[in-house]
Amino acid sequence: MPMFDNPFDPKRRLTSGCPCGQHKSVAEHDQAARLQAQEVAASEDKRYENVVAGTVLRAMFPQDAARRAFLKTVGASTALAAISQFFPLSTATEVFAQAKPIEKKDLKVGFIPITCATPIIMAKPMGFYEKHGLNVDVIKTAGWAVVRDKTINKEYDAAHMLSPMPIAITLGAGSNPIPYTMPAVENINGQAITLAVKHKDKRDPKSWKGFKFAVPFDYSMHNYLLRYYLAEHGLDPDTDVQIRAVPPPEMVANLRADNIDGFLAPDPVNQRAVYDGVGFIHILSKEIWDRHPCCAFAASQEFVKGSPNTYAALLKAIIDATAFATKPENRKQIAESIAPANYLNQPVTVVEQVLTGKFADGLGNVKNVPDRIDFDPFPYESFAVWILTQMKRWGQIKGEVKYADVAKSVFLATDTTKLMKEVGLTPPSSTSKSFVVMGKTFDPSKPEEYIKSFKIKRV
């Protein structure tokens, strides 16, 4: 039984399809959870008190059935009053609410100047780190490999990474194996395929044979999504087109210089290409896989275990910022605070178009897609499994893969669940979920079958 459920509720169903027992079905539960996730809880004290009282009650009646019998006879409020007479609930609540001392206050967090890093960046100018007792410097970094090396070297305590990177680092693909963790996803959606203006009549991917594409990194959602998209349209991403890793800042310059025909890139790069009149947005990445994860907040397992309180405070700040960024009405304000030279170093209107979803597409239309980018911190383990299937599909990892184990040890869904509750959000009930990529449902429990189902693959 989850810790934050109300054990004083005698009507609580003990078994049902819905994990919390309050809804008729899992779908309904998820729907409610999503709605609640957008509301920050009113009073922290009340919440802690409920948790403490619940724990005490559970300690007295360890069996669910016995507790229910007791509650039914005396009623919840009488029970609470009765318990508080012989157990100092308020003191216990205070002890619980008091944050444990933070081991290290001054932290350095690395980021790449793209809108995916919005929660990590905005937490600085908007004071989310401060609120959780941290003094964080967010340091702009030149490329993913440098972020990786600087985090491994401990120059950064934590960093903004592409969500496949912690998995790759843990597995030792493209670097030495180091146990890495990814306790929070930064953003979902928020990428796009941009093509050079001269290709504006070639909207059918089948006509893209011989194109040169850029993606930010080999171990990136961008690479996997672009390959997936091309393969679904019958193009072999290794032989029919060329895909190279180009750091995001260099993409627009390369597109202008005609070195590449297009890219699947993080924003604001896509919007910047449109803004400068060199490219147009072919599709948004949400049209490939709606609500796909992209970038992530990552830290080494050493940091997570070595300074657990600092880590908790940092993650809470990020989750808090993410919740703030979810709300459309805050997006304009966020765009203004992260556009300056110290952070993204982009014209405000470019960042604003990305975050608000009202944007010019480069072909003369103004589009309105409010969920062009969204923010959801929850690191579903099934995301990791999907990433692993694609790594295997394209030959980045070989042999047998322990999908569930890797997913669990890298994507710290349980930690996130706990901390989301502490900052007053409702985490999803399950740490795994199924989703649809270009019309094809992914079942996280059958990764090998999924890989086998593709025609174009390198296995």
Binding site: K140, T141, V146, E155, A253, R256, D276, N342, V366
Partner: protein, 277 residues
């Protein structure tokens, strides 16, 4: 009119011609399609007015003035004034370069004075010398585990070779007569090294140092673009990120001027130790 005055006039003429051509080349605007005003509001001026993405000299001058009047502002770890960035770069170059001097000159002396060491170390020097300093970067980051020290290491490794080779050459080619004179006067080896060989080899050593400082300054910009954080190289990268060619041109100007000053400093020093025979 003296030769230098005439040369000065020609220099100024070339500059004016260059600026004029630059201005003309960038001031024109190409044709643009008609746009819906709401759409146009979301686009940049390159797209809406067909303005060249390349800034003109006036624009560059204006930004340069802005940087020069406020060189030391500090808006947080990723946005500092040009003066602060330059100070970081010069600091890194100075440390890496001085370390290289400390290693290269004694080692060069050893190689120059001893045939055995010269032969023994030669293959290593020949292999290590042509390696691009930036190729060391990943290795440095991996082993030193600190990007700042890695940048300093890269400066060190690139500036060590010209000094080492020049010192060895200078020491080895001290005129035999002078050494023989020293020997007949029964000068001890240490005294010989400092009073005969060092002054004789100094001009060659300083030439090596001058080549080295030039290379070090070339490399720091690239190294800082790679590791980021601070420095003039990071400034270039950060402005490139924003596709701000104006600021990149500014940085190029400043890098050139600082490089020239460093080179001239060592040229002066070289003059001080050169004696006509």
């Amino acid at each position: 009119m003296t030769l230098s005055a005439r040369a000065g006039i020609v220099s100024i003429l070339i500059l004016v011609l260059f600026l004029g051509a630059w201005h003309l080349a960038t001031s024109g605007s190409s044709s643009v399609q008609q746009m819906d005003p709401e759409y146009a509001k979301l686009m940049g001026i390159t797209a809406t007015q067909g303005k060249s993405a390349m800034p003109g000299p006036l624009q560059v001058g204006a930004t340069l003035w802005k940087h020069l009047t406020n060189p030391f502002y500090d808006n947080g770890p990723n946005d500092k004034g040009l003066g602060i960035q330059l100070a970081y770069s010069i600091g890194r170059v100075a440390i890496g370069y001085l370390l290289a001097v400390l290693v290269a000159i004694p080692l060069g002396f050893l190689i120059g004075m001893s045939q055995l060491m010269s032969r023994a170390l030669d293959p290593f020097i020949q292999v290590l010398k042509p390696i691009s300093p930036l190729a060391w970067m990943p290795l440095a980051l991996y082993t030193i585990k600190d990007s700042n020290y890695s940048a300093i290491f890269v400066i060190f490794i690139c500036s060590v070779w010209p000094m080492l080779i020049n010192t060895a050459f200078g020491v080895a080619t001290v005129r035999k007569e002078w050494l023989n004179v020293a020997r007949t006067l029964e000068v001890g080896p240490l005294k010989r090294a400092f009073t005969v060989i060092l002054p004789a080899a100094a001009p060659t050593i300083l030439t090596g140092m001058r080549i080295s400082i030039g290379i070090a300054w070339l490399v720091i910009v690239a190294a800082e673009m790679l590791v980021g954080g601070t420095g003039i190289g990071y400034f270039v990268w950060n402005e490139w990120n924003n596709l701000s060619i104006t600021n990149v041109i500014n940085a190029i100007l400043v890098i050139g001027i600082v490089g020239m000053v460093l080179d001239q400093l060592l040229a002066r020093a070289a003059k001080l130790v050169t004696y006509p025979e």
